[in-house]
Subunit: 172 residues, 2 copies
């Protein structure tokens, strides 16, 4: 090896080292930036969790607050109704009809609906609950509803109380 | 420089390069791991946001569902009450008192309370709203409550309706 060659080789190696050091600096920065992104994301998530818990509590409180507010006029009507009682402790039905309407309106506002059930309708276990059975000869179809014993109610698509009914079955 | 020295120097440089390459591999892995941590955190956060929106909706629905369920027996009582009316369309007060109690019990369960207000109490604008004023000579203190005109209600610490009152003021 002549001296020029030796120098060239050493220079090449030194340049290589320099370039590798630059690469290391770059990677160090990149790794640090990625770590910082992660740490920031983690902190944001913690904040989000805290906010969420608070928001859930607020949502529940707000829903209740609204519906409870709606019932205050009904309380007033009851008090008014009592003031209008006769000496025999009787109350004219009009006031009670009015209160009933107020109650229905509030519940309707929140989408609570009476499940409409016709007599002679076929029993549908997704909304009816048969609590008594009567056997007869002249029934066309089994499980026909004879009487609604207690009304049922539905909120959006969820049955809150099943309609209690008596059904007819064919005598064998 | 003798040949041994040259070889030693070149060997040192090559070893340095090897060690730098190892360092680069390590940093590449580290940076990649940090990036993956960040990406996973970001995905978790997106999921959390989606779950949160759903949870908030559920919470609100669940709060309403519970309270609406509680009102179903009151609907039954109204219907029962109507069945018991006399021929003169009068209703015995007992049924109405019972319904009033049912309503109060439900509202009490959700912490809605009547704001208790005594006559001769000092007006407190955090819960009272004076809607009429009477001027008199013999008033000890201004803004003494004369009469409660409409009841007020409080839910937890929040006034849902202020107590409407008439107040007394000294005649000058």
């Amino acid at each position: 090896m002549n001296e020029t060659n030796i120098n060239n080789t050493q220079q090449n190696l030194n340049e290589k080292i320099e370039s590798l050091n630059l690469e290391i600096d770059k990677l160090n920065n990149e790794s640090k930036n990625n770590w910082e992104l992660f740490v920031r994301c983690k902190a944001e998530m913690e904040n989000l969790k805290k906010r969420t818990d608070k928001e859930i509590l607020n949502t529940s409180n707000f829903a209740l607050q609204n519906i409870l507010c709606d019932f205050i006029p009904l309380l007033d009507s009851f008090e008014l109704c009592f003031k209008k009682k006769t000496e025999d402790n009787l109350i004219n039905i009009d006031g009670v009809i009015l209160m009933h309407k107020m109650l229905l309106n509030i519940l309707d506002k929140y989408n609570l609906k009476k499940i409409s059930t016709e007599e002679n309708e076929k029993l549908d276990i997704s909304k009816h609950e048969a609590i008594s059975v009567e056997y007869k000869d002249d029934i066309e179809e089994d499980d026909t509803i004879k009487t609604v014993l207690q009304n049922g109610y539905i909120l959006n698509d969820r049955v809150l109380r099943y309609v209690k009914v008596s059904v007819l079955k064919r005598k064998n």
